[in-house]
Amino acid sequence: MRPLAAVLCGVMRTLVGAHAHWQEPPSSAASIYFANHTSHMDTLAIWAALGPRLRAHTRPVAARDYWDRGALRRHVALRVLNVVFVERHREGHEGDPLAPLAAALEEGSSLILFPEGTRGTGPLPGAFRSGLYNLAVRFPQVRLVPVYLENMHRSMPKGTFVPIPVVCTVRFGAPLARITEETREAFLERARAAVVALA
């Protein structure tokens, strides 16, 4: 592991533990890990919890307006986390916003995704946006793994700039079953319920 990656993992272990709890044995098959989103450390927490083997081919989906800012953050995003950038604000951007994510899945990578698109204030996730549904339809073979981040909203709640140490377990659930001809709304609600069920 490269030095900066080791430092980031060490910081996450010290601050929040970020230990994984797997409901089913982890698999290195292409997966989308989708989680509730409450703090700026969420991406790092899941990344640290995955462990070196799964981490090697998992790419976090990162909002360009947050992660592509400042030399250090950009360096971590591109060189350490190997993120896939997405544009949260659509003004002035043409084309399919999911194209970079689809490309990453096509090359066999797994993704870390926060389907709410933004951080919430409470522990439970709000409504999911449709990106997860669109990817699920396009990639029927990919495993959709719900993830619940416990306590991250206490460690670094929205509006704070420094974390406090609180033990945060990363709970990985069983992959979502695939149901054919499910409506977008029903799928997104089922996916959200799968994350809530891990709480």
Binding site: P157, G159, T160, P165, V166, V167
Partner: protein, 312 residues
């Protein structure tokens, strides 16, 4: 015998003890017949494995010198406080006070030991943190359960930082004829508290019949307390040669450490139950969390520190 030689004798003794424990654990594992017996023996063996790791960490810190010892105990306070805060319902308005606890109070409390400023060390948390933490929390403007939240945070730092820090604070004491041997006094305190926990566990498993406080701590038994407590007192008395105390003094000190350690385990067990959990965490395999390991130490350390300071 020099302090260094005493230290090596002690380490030799502890390693021998752990080797015997590992051997006994392996024999028990081979003989365990029933499902419950296997579970108990598996837990025993993971406890013994964790002991090897803890002893190794302490030995390295002691050999590396006082700063390493302070960093080690500072980290123990950090992880114990992290467990306490994780289980305690705090609110968004407690964010800044909690940040101060972890990143200002812990470093400061241990730095004061390093600088040898005993006066401020003794009042930093009971006086200054007591006044400033709730004031900072009040600035966030959330009066909901305010007294309860402030009390819990104060209690958490008192136990996990203030009390635990009295163990390395033994390095501050200037005892005539015992210069430069503070690390051995720390070793003595750790040995007696931990042997007391271990022997109470062993006596409890072998002879335990009568539950002592079933609602607070379902595993503590009268037989375990008396048998284990007396045995640990005797072990401490026999270790008088690493302390500045005469044999009877070491015996009396060990007795006080055992009693305070027992009370600490009991009181923190009650806190645990009131928070609705069985273990403080899962950091140390077989033992539970950091606080499960240092609960007895946190109550014994300040009292042992004061008695030593006043009488020697």
């Amino acid at each position: 015998m020099s302090a260094q030689q005493k230290f090596y004798w002690l380490m030799g003794g502890v390693v021998t003890l752990l080797a015997v424990a590992s051997l006994v654990g392996a024999l028990l594992a081979a003989r365990a017949g029933t499902e419950t017996a296997r579970a108990v023996v598996a837990n025993l063996n993971s406890r013994i494995r964790a002991w090897w790791a803890m002893v190794a960490i302490f030995a390295v810190a002691f050999l590396a010198g006082p700063i390493a010892t302070l960093v080690l105990f500072g980290s123990m306070s950090f992880f114990a406080l992290r467990e306490f805060v994780t289980l305690t319902p705090t609110k968004r308005a407690d964010h800044v006070p909690l940040f101060l606890c972890f990143f200002v109070l812990i470093p400061l409390q241990y730095a004061l030991i390093g600088y040898g400023w005993y006066g401020l060390f003794a009042i930093l948390i009971p006086v200054y943190a007591f006044l400033i933490l709730p004031a900072v929390a009040a600035l966030a403007g959330d009066p909901d359960r305010f007294l309860e939240r402030s009390a819990k945070i104060q209690w958490a730092v008192m136990v996990t930082v203030y009390c635990v820090s009295h163990t390395p604070a033994l390095l501050l004491l200037r005892i005539p004829g015992y210069e430069g041997q503070g690390a051995l006094l720390i070793f003595f305190l750790l040995l007696v508290t931990q042997m007391s926990d271990v022997l109470q566990y062993v006596f409890g498993k072998l002879f335990g019949r009568t539950l002592l406080a079933p609602t607070v701590s379902p595993s503590k038994t009268v037989e375990g307390l008396i048998g284990g407590g007396l045995a640990a007192t005797a072990v401490g008395g026999a270790m008088y040669w690493i302390t500045p105390f005469p044999p009877l003094g070491a015996l009396a000190m060990s007795f006080v450490i055992v009693v305070m350690g027992f009370l600490g385990g009991l009181a923190l067990s009650a806190v645990k139950r009131s928070l609705g959990v069985k273990d403080w965490g899962a950091m140390i395999e077989g033992h539970g969390g950091m606080l499960d390991r240092v609960d007895s130490l946190s109550f014994a350390a300040p009292v042992f520190f004061h008695l030593t300071r006043y009488f020697w």
